[in-house]
Amino acid sequence: MRPRPRLPRLGVAGWIGLACVVLYLLVATVGRLHGDPVALVTPGPEAPSFAHPFGTDHLGRDLLARTAEGAWTSLWICVTSIGFAVAVGMPLGVLAGYRHGGRLDGVLMRSVETLQALPQFVFVMFLIGLMGTADMHFGPVTVGNGPRVAFAIGLGFVPYFARVARGATVVEMREDYVTNLRGLGVPTREILFREVLVNVWPPVLGQALLAMAIAVFAEGGLSFLGLGVAPPQATLGNLIADAGGQIIGGDWWYATLPGTVLVLGILGFNLLGETAGAGRPRAVGTGPVRRRAPEQTPEEIPEETPRQIPAQIPTQIPTPKETQ
């Protein structure tokens, strides 16, 4: 009998996080349908109304449309930067973990620690300072500040993913199934990328969601400082920065509403990341078709529960190295 589909067990925090992210995406989507974020629609700042649910900004632009554009811009920069960080950091970490204790591990980890020596936000500002905020022209291609901000944030996150991936890889490499796969003569590349990587993913994914929250915050901070995306494109950071000058005039909506959306994004990704990092079950190497471990949360798994090992792989097979 096929099991009934079940909702994932997120816990209260996870559900709150999911709700926040959904709300964030909802504002980002609905707002984009609401109007042109650059058009000047009122003579000056106006409080929220039916026509402009988030009000208008100091130049008379629809704030819902601009918040939506800002949310998408922030999301795009964050996804790109975290994607870049995972793409670079994870292979480095897996490689270092595989060579645990060796020279390559030492070189990679010391390099990563050098990057980590600077506080992350300072490091990102340093990178942007080096690259400048002006558009870069490579022949016919013009690279604006957005991709460079994503690159800088992403590079700042590489060490974190490399370390998480390395730690997880070191643990996995000590597992019996790896020993057994080696004994069966499975190539190292296949062990690493088809078996070990599956179990390295969960902590990396959890870290990625947590990093998303930090990236949303970092992008907002950079834009607030004028180091982010150039106007008139909105980001949540530069919306809040612009709103700062209007607070004394009583324009409460200007900072509050984009700020709330920013908080939703940060809180949502943070809670989801925490849930994912804490509750994601391990997968156990099962060959080309990856089979997940039984749907048990860590709380349900009793201590000392032996990991599931495919029945067809005999245990206690000496590694090729030992036979030589």
């Binding site: 003579p43 002006a134 700062g244 004394i248 943070n270 925490e274 201590e303």
Partner: protein, 527 residues
């Protein structure tokens, strides 16, 4: 198994506490900010210190390098020029001892210097200091902004005796008197220093915290040249504090922490007007929105494209949305507070004219419909650019905004590698009640040339620079203004007013001095 209770603050708890703290903190700050500052001001004024809140701090303290108000507002009570402005903005001797002796061919100016003047380090002011100042200004490696005024005109300068200098010109230079009235003279050992100011003024710089504050004290051995009838500086000292955020500046003024602030944003005007202990000062001053297009390349090489861009500028939008209506609709490079202003010059409508702009674009030879406008980093110019971009979008122009800090922005200007350049600039400290620098790039041979070549404009600019006849200069300025506007070469969207705010316990700022961008704090007093 017994569950282990975690003690301490986890991530979730921290987030919750942070949210509560943020909400509570905001409330506390709001409550504090509403307290009256009158008693605080009365108590504070006992120390005799004038406190000024400024928007930003200069990266270099050398007033010879920059005519920017950011540097010069701090330098005003510290540095002095050979000539100063009287109450009617006429140039009168200050560090000079009388009018210059000008040779018949107008190529040699001999200037006697006032004796008995001391620098703030106690050394005597001599001709060596003037020579060192002029030499620094003309040193290409020094990077002084003044070099653009002097290059090609100053031939040499020499010390005649300890208190006389002679300036020899390569051609007549009527503007020299204006420059000598605005150029601060610096101690010979300090001309290249960027970390301090050494002047002869009534106040001296005691200390500063980079980017934050500047502390001045009264110079008791001041020669007295700026004061008549035995008057003396009223304050024991002055303190300039940087409040980068406009709201914080206004709140500090309301709370009585400072007596005077620069650049309140128009969003705060109502708040200032409602407070009876504050006064909002709005005045016409030589405050320019620099606006240049590069005519050596597409698309601005095409006159129809240029005019279409100028016609589709939302000037009214900029004036209302960015300056709250406080200013004048822009046309040519010369504004209402500057010599040569022509109120009848109106080639462009206040609101964009999309129909005519589209017709011009259809007629234009260039097929390009996009360009980049390179702006500075201050909020005002960023807002101006955004309003203009919205207007240009209506006629199908795709405009990218590029923001650059001061140095890179100037490099772009010098390298001539731009489509359109915009920034704000106060010319009062370099040109007094005029703006000569704005016109310079229209000259075909100028180092900042924007690629425009019009023999009549070149000739008129030469006249403006060279003539000693005030009426002739004003007429030439007016003509150049018209030509540059009608040819859509320099078309600023607005001429904004200079905005300041002060406490009423301080004597009112002098409107005459404000017309040349001066705060003139050394002549204020507590009332």
């Amino acid at each position: 198994m017994t569950p282990v209770r975690t003690v301490g603050l986890n991530r979730r708890g921290f987030l919750g506490l942070a949210a509560l703290a943020a909400a509570g903190g905001t409330g506390v700050l709001t409550a504090c900010s509403s307290s009256s500052g009158s008693k605080r001001v009365a108590d504070r004024h006992r120390d005799g210190i004038l406190r000024i809140g400024v928007a930003s701090a200069p990266s270099s303290l050398n007033p010879l390098d920059s005519g920017s108000e950011i540097t010069r507002w701090i330098a005003e009570p510290i540095m002095e020029s050979l000539y100063g402005y009287d109450a009617k903005l006429a140039s009168v001797p200050l560090l000079a001892d009388g009018e210059p002796q000008i040779s018949e061919d107008k190529l040699a100016w001999t200037i006697r210097l006032r004796q008995g003047v001391l620098w703030h380090d106690g050394s005597a002011f001599t001709a060596d200091d003037v020579v060192a100042t002029l030499a620094h200004m003309l040193d290409l490696a020094a990077g002084s902004e003044w070099i653009t005024y002097m290059l090609g005109y100053l031939s040499r300068f020499e010390k005649v005796d300890a208190h006389t200098v002679r300036i020899v010109l390569s051609k007549p230079y009527g503007l020299l008197r204006s420059h000598l009235t605005n150029l601060p003279i610096t101690h010979r050992d300090f001309v290249a220093r960027k970390d301090t100011m050494m002047g002869t003024g009534p106040y001296r710089l005691d200390k500063f915290v980079a980017g934050q504050s500047f502390t001045l004290s009264r110079f008791d051995r001041y020669h007295g040249g700026q004061y008549s009838g035995g008057a003396k500086p009223a304050f024991a000292g002055m303190e300039y504090t940087v409040f980068a955020d406009a709201n914080t500046r206004v709140l500090s003024l309301r709370q009585g922490k400072v007596d005077l602030i620069t650049a309140p944003s128009f969003a705060t005007f109502d708040t200032i007007r409602k407070d009876k202990s504050l006064a909002l000062v709005l005045t016409e001053a030589p405050l320019d929105v620099l606006s240049y297009v590069m005519m050596k390349k597409e698309p601005f090489a095409d006159p129809d494209f240029r005019k279409a861009v100028a016609l589709s500028m939302d000037r009214q939008g900029v004036l209302q949305r960015v300056y709250g209506g406080e200013g004048t609709i822009g046309q040519g490079p010369i504004g209402p507070a500057e010599l040569g202003w022509d109120a009848t010059l109106k080639p462009f409508p206040p609101a964009p004219d999309p129909a005519q702009a589209r017709a011009l674009l259809a007629r234009a030879k260039t097929s390009k419909r996009s360009f980049t406008v390179t702006i500075g980093t201050n909020q005002g110019i960023r807002d101006i650019a955004q309003v203009l971009v919205a207007g240009w979008k209506q006629v199908g122009l795709d405009v990218t905004i590029e923001q650059l800090a001061g140095g890179p922005w100037s490099n772009k200007w010098l390298s001539r590698d731009y489509d359109m350049l915009m920034n704000t600039f106060s010319s009062g400290f370099t040109s007094g009640p005029a703006n000569y620098l704005t016109l310079a790039p229209a000259g075909s041979a100028n180092v900042l040339s924007c690629g425009y070549a019009n023999p009549e404009v070149d000739r008129l600019i030469d006249t403006i620079w060279q003539t000693s006849d005030h009426a002739e200069r004003v007429a030439a300025l007016g003509r150049v203004d018209r030509l540059l506007a009608e040819d859509a070469v320099i078309t600023p969207p607005v001429y904004p007013k200079l905005a300041l705010a002060q406490r009423t316990e301080l004597s009112p700022l002098d409107p005459t001095m404000l017309r040349i961008s001066r705060l003139d704090p050394q002549h204020l007093r507590f009332v």
